[in-house]
């Protein structure tokens, strides 16, 4: 029976590539570590040059706030922080797990994404969320771009 393909998977494609998933999780840990140490992390090329935050700006700070248990600050900085934590946990799993459980994990994520379109919806939702914040809370967004 042909596999149903209602929605294209996004996250599963990342998880399929073990090296990519591993590098993403390592980079995320490094970025959070630099932030916690008060050192400069990855400079966003969009915010850095144009002064306008990109859709992902604030996510590291929000995730660190979330890790500290400060939900309010985390959600104020970026509502996608819990999603990022989940995605990074999946990436770490895909990077570290042995072949068989990793294949099961990727398969399960792909199946959920194909049935629900969750990956595509969250990706597009992030762009909508960014546009909404730019339109309705520009001052907060500029503060975000300034760090």
């Amino acid at each position: 029976m042909p596999e149903r393909k209602l929605f294209p998977p996004v996250l599963a494609l990342l998880l399929q590539n073990r090296r990519l998933a591993g590098i993403i999780s390592f980079t995320a840990v490094l970025q959070a570590g630099l932030l916690l140490a008060g050192l400069p992390g990855w400079p966003c090329p969009v915010a850095h040059t144009l002064g306008v935050p990109c859709p992902g700006c604030g996510l590291t700070r929000a995730t660190v706030a979330l890790a500290r248990g400060d939900w309010q600050a985390a959600l104020a900085l970026h509502a996608y922080a819990p999603v990022l934590v989940l995605v990074l946990a999946l990436c770490a799993g895909a990077g570290l797990l042995p072949a068989r459980p990793r294949a099961a994990l990727v398969g399960a994520v792909a199946a959920v994404e194909r049935r629900t379109g969750l990956g595509a919806a969250l990706t597009l939702g992030l762009v909508v969320y960014w546009l909404a914040r730019l339109l309705f809370a520009p001052a907060a967004m500029l503060r975000l771009a300034r760090g």
């Binding site: 294209p8 996004v10 494609l13 990342l14 090296r19 990519l20 590098i23 993403i24 980079t27 970025q31 932030l35 400069p40 992390g41 990855w42 400079p43 966003c44 090329p45 969009v46 915010a47 850095h48 040059t49 144009l50 002064g51 935050p53 990109c54 859709p55 992902g56 700006c57 604030g58 996510l59 590291t60 700070r61 990956g119 595509a120 990706t123 597009l124 992030l126 762009v127 960014w130 975000l144 771009a145 300034r146 760090g147």
Partner: protein, 91 residues
């Protein structure tokens, strides 16, 4: 604006241009959804660029981008206050 802040801005501009070039390649090679992912998270675009640098023949471009990022961080640190007002952002 001090000279370090100005140089940091120039490296930022170079970094943005290369980001856009690599992002276009990401869209062309991986489709719209992964392209949007690259737009959302420039670190992903950077990692993807390095992973595919050989295949896409963009190794030199990635080397320049990496150098610009490192230079930008150093210049921002040297630039101190004024540069910090312009650069800030951690994604």
């Amino acid at each position: 604006m001090n000279v370090f802040a100005l140089l940091a801005m120039l490296t930022g501009l170079g970094s943005l241009i290369i980001f856009i070039i690599v992002l276009i390649k990401l869209f062309q090679n991986e489709g719209a959804l992964k392209g949007i992912l690259g737009l959302i998270c420039s670190i992903y675009t950077f990692i993807w660029g390095w992973m595919n640098a050989g295949r896409l023949n963009i190794r030199n471009l990635m080397l320049i981008w990496t150098a610009l990022i490192i230079l930008g961080i150093v210049l921002n640190l040297l630039g101190g206050g004024m540069a910090a007002m312009q650069t800030p952002t951690t994604p």
